[in-house]
């Protein structure tokens, strides 16, 4: 055996040992791995379809953010005009367009001037006394980006907050207007996850003008219905959804949750959970003044238009307050999380859900592993029977291929999904192909009565480019699948692509090496192939 081959065999052997180690680590339970010095902490991740969990694609209504921005611009312009003593004939935002109706032609330049000064509007369209504006492309983009980061931030704090959120969950941005939420878990509580997502977390405090047990009775006392700047809000039972009381309050909040500094769960004297909150200094000032001026009135604490409680104000309160409601400790904890995380400025919608129960996930792992092992054994048996000793070489190459494939995926901490397991089984079936191409070539050369060593050398050299061409084309489709696939399907593309690379390596390097070890430089008259 020449030195260079010994060196190569050593390198390939070392590589395989290393990757076997990485691959085997996946079979050691996670906590043991972390505890031991020997095994690496991280390895293959299991996709939610194997592990069980919720996969949500959440759409963010960015159009709402644009509308909101235009409303803000409209108010500013109206106020500026008002300072000059000008009132517009009309101003409204509709379908992403701000429409300003100028009272008379001579005021036109003035209105255009103020609109221009905002710096975020396009030049006006429309004729006569009607001006139509949109946000400039740059500003629209910036509004959308700002909204996305705010939504991401809020959802992260609610869902994957390391302390209070749901352990191991992931919240990431997907594309321009979507957020991907992944919540793994043995015990998935969809309702709870949903309520964390659902609540926009918009907290308001309003002084109660009047209240009664039902809306009808309240309306009976206020025959005209609520005035322009008033509204009716209800306190509903969390369980049954039945309204318990109705409150007449002003439309504009006296103070909002924007001033909140912190919120946490506490227990009252009867050991009922309550949520205690604290305002920041600025909020404390406003709140102090509000409570001072409204002693003995009710203060409605409203979250997302639902009244949680409406205690009577006993005296001046500055920074601290509490929300009582008929909630469980878990609900109170979630409410505290939502309050602390702040409010979502735009609505979100679940656009896609893929939830797999942990039982089904476990079944999938077991049946997938069984299919993989049985497939492997059958293919190995077939290769051995067909190519004898060389078939044995091919089998070694196939095993090396799997070790490399699983080892590489563990190294990259790739996610294994059910389609990924299917890709693994498919790789087992197709990986032998490269060896088959080489062996058939060698057989052809042997039939031409070439010497064994020459036949092996020619076989490999002629087959190399065939193997590469065939596999590169397959790799192209796998990469494109990765690009366009979503979720679990991406997992299939991952195993398939890595499997293609490792199987080419296994055939061209590992099998080659085995032939160099036997027959190597020995002169043999027959080859078992």
């Amino acid at each position: 055996m020449s030195g260079s081959i010994g060196w190569k065999a050593g390198a390939v052997g070392a590589l395989l040992v290393l990757f076997s180690f990485l691959a085997m680590a996946n079979f050691v339970p996670k906590d043991e791995r972390v505890a031991s010095e020997f095994w690496p902490d991280d390895g293959l991740r299991l996709g939610l379809d194997l592990r069980g969990g919720i996969h949500w694609v959440v759409g963010v209504e960015l159009a709402d953010a644009v509308t909101r921005e235009l409303e803000f611009v409209r108010k500013t312009i109206e106020e500026q005009l008002k300072d000059e003593g000008i009132a517009l004939a009309g101003a409204r935002v509709e379908g992403g367009v701000l429409r300003l109706d100028i009272p008379s032609e001579d005021l036109r330049s003035k209105v255009v001037q103020f609109a221009d000064d905002s710096g975020v509007l396009t030049s006006p369209e429309g004729d006569g006394l009607q001006l139509r504006y949109r946000l400039t492309d740059d500003w629209t983009q910036s509004v959308r980006e700002r909204t996305m980061s705010q939504v991401l931030e809020v959802l992260r704090r609610r869902i994957d907050d390391p302390q209070r959120g749901i352990p191991d969950s992931v919240v990431t941005r997907q594309g321009t207007d979507r957020v991907l939420v992944q919540i793994p878990g043995e015990q998935i509580d969809r309702d709870r996850a949903r309520s964390l997502l659902k609540s926009t977390g918009f907290l308001e405090f309003k002084i109660v003008i009047d209240s009664d047990s039902t809306k009808e009775e309240l309306l009976a006392r206020h025959p005209g219905g609520p005035t322009e700047d008033q509204m009716i809000v209800l306190q509903t039972d969390q369980e049954s959804g039945v309204a318990e009381s109705a409150f007449l309050v002003s439309k504009v909040a006296d103070i909002t949750g924007d001033y909140l500094d912190d919120a946490r769960v506490q227990f009252d004297q009867q050991q009922r959970p309550i949520v205690e909150f604290r305002f920041n200094p600025a909020g404390g000032e406003i709140f102090g003044e509000l409570t001072e001026n409204n002693k003995n009135k009710g203060l409605a604490i409203i979250l997302d238009n639902n009244v949680y409680s409406a205690p009577a104000i006993r005296g001046r309160i500055t920074t601290r307050g509490q929300i009582e409601g008929q909630f469980s400790a878990a609900e109170a904890a979630d409410l505290a999380v939502i309050l602390r995380a702040g409010s979502l400025s735009v609505p979100v919608v679940i656009e896609e859900e893929r939830t797999v129960g942990p039982g089904l996930g476990q079944d999938s792992i077991e049946s997938g592993a069984l299919a993989c092992v049985i497939g492997l054994v059958l293919v190995l048996a077939f290769a051995g029977a067909y190519y004898r000793l060389s078939g044995g070489f091919a089998s070694v190459a196939l095993l090396a291929n799997l070790v490399l494939l699983v080892g590489l995926m563990s190294l990259f901490e790739a996610t294994l999904t059910l389609p990924g397991i299917a890709g693994l089984v498919l790789t087992v079936g197709m990986a032998v192909d490269a060896n088959v191409i080489i062996f058939e070539r060698i057989r052809e050369e042997l039939r031409k009565n070439r010497a064994v060593r020459a036949a092996i050398a020619t076989g490999f050299s002629k087959a190399t480019w065939t193997v590469l061409d065939a596999n590169i084309t397959t790799l192209i489709t796998a990469v494109i699948l990765f690009q366009y696939g979503t979720g679990p399907i991406k997992g299939f593309a991952v195993t398939l692509s890595i499997g293609i690379v490792t199987s080419v390596f296994a055939a061209l390097v590992v099998t080659r090496l085995l032939f160099q070890l036997y027959p190597g430089t020995r002169s043999v008259s027959t080859l078992s192939i």
Binding site: L376, F382, E440
Partner: protein, 352 residues
């Protein structure tokens, strides 16, 4: 003596039977087209059209059957709900599916105006998570009226996502075909590329048709299978083309048909062997891999069989056809059946 599935020296005149193969292929494609028309389109799963699918495993089978669950669903306002038993006969696992237009819940408020008129004010109370609420609604109705169950799987695809996944799927197939065309043109010779692509399209058309006939619903798993089939079938075709190119260089003056025949025969054992090992693995996946992955394994099995058939019987005749019809703008066309292989061999070095 080595064990051989295809005996050495096999020389079957595949090209001679190309008309029969053409008829078979066209018949298979035609069958697919007819069944697509008969079904009123390719049956698409919720991935591509949107909708909700929930898989429920009942704690005990008593009372849980398709019609009972369907009745509960219909009574709860899911008028288009379909229910099928999942897995074997007698299992207590069911798949409930409903198409769910993003419901916009509307509440009508009765308000008395200042003038004393009673008017109805329509308030939209949909919170945007409506579709998701409907799942919870349906589940609690089933739980109350039929029995307790474990929620095995929930899939909900909104209409916007469905449309995007559909577009992405079409793009994935399209870009794969283009990328392959480019690679084959680059590595071989532009003349090989159309043959490879037509062969792949042929395979996907037949496989797709057979899947429609078998009643398989097209979803993301089937799309993944189709792309894997595309890769597999191409792999097969490339290996034969590679041999054709090599033989062309060796015998530049030989008759094209002879060269093609020889190439298909020389690679025949490899084509068959690789199909066998792949089919072994896929059968194992199909029988043991579980219900979720079974449609994928089934589609792959059909695709591998069709791909193998096309590599042997279709890809080379296609090359012959394209070469004799369009090969040489001047003479090739007039010569009719006898193209020369010289054009295919020129230009590109076979190996680096």
């Amino acid at each position: 003596m080595p064990f051989e599935i295809v005996p050495s020296g096999t020389n079957i005149n595949f090209l001679g039977h190309r008309r029969i193969c053409l008829v078979i292929s066209l018949a298979l494609i035609g069958l697919g087209v007819v069944s697509v028309i008969a079904r009123g389109g390719v049956p698409l799963g919720i991935d591509f059209v949107g909708g909700t699918e929930i898989q429920l495993l009942f704690d005990d089978a008593a009372g849980a059957d398709e019609s009972a669950i369907r009745d509960v669903a219909r009574a709860s306002g899911f008028s288009d709900a379909t229910v099928v038993r999942f897995g074997e006969e007698g299992s207590n696992e069911f798949l409930v599916r409903f198409k769910d237009e993003p419901a916009v819940a509307v509440e009508v408020d009765v308000v008395e105006t200042e003038a004393g008129d009673i008017v109805e004010e329509v308030v939209v109370v949909s919170d945007g998570l409506e579709a998701n609420t409907r799942i919870i609604q349906l589940e609690s109705a089933i739980r109350e009226q039929i029995g307790d169950f474990t929620e095995q799987r929930v899939e909900f695809v909104g209409p916007r996502v469905g449309a995007e996944l559909r577009a992405d799927g079409v793009n994935a197939l399209l870009f794969s075909a283009l990328a392959i065309l480019a690679y084959v043109a680059f590595r071989f010779n532009a003349r090989f590329a159309p043959g490879a692509v037509v062969a792949v399209v042929h395979d996907l058309a037949i496989t797709g048709g057979l899947l429609v006939i078998a009643g398989v619903e097209f979803d993301l798993r089937i799309l993944a299978a189709m792309l894997a089939i595309l890769g597999y079938s191409l792999n097969d075709t490339i290996i034969i083309y590679d041999r054709i190119r090599e033989n062309m260089e060796l015998h530049t003056t030989a008759d094209l048909e002879e060269v093609l025949n020889a190439s298909v025969n020389q690679t025949l054992s490899r084509t068959v062997l690789t199909s066998i090992t792949t089919i072994i693995a896929l059968v194992s996946l199909y029988t043991l891999g579980g219900d979720v992955i079974r449609p994928f394994a089934f589609a792959m099995l059909i695709g591998v069989l069709v791909g193998t058939y096309s590599s042997i019987f279709i890809a080379s005749p296609l090359l012959l056809f394209l070469e004799t019809r369009y090969g040489d703008s001047g003479e090739g066309g007039k010569k009719g059946g006898k193209g020369s292989g010289a054009n295919l061999a020129k230009n590109k070095p076979a190996r680096a």
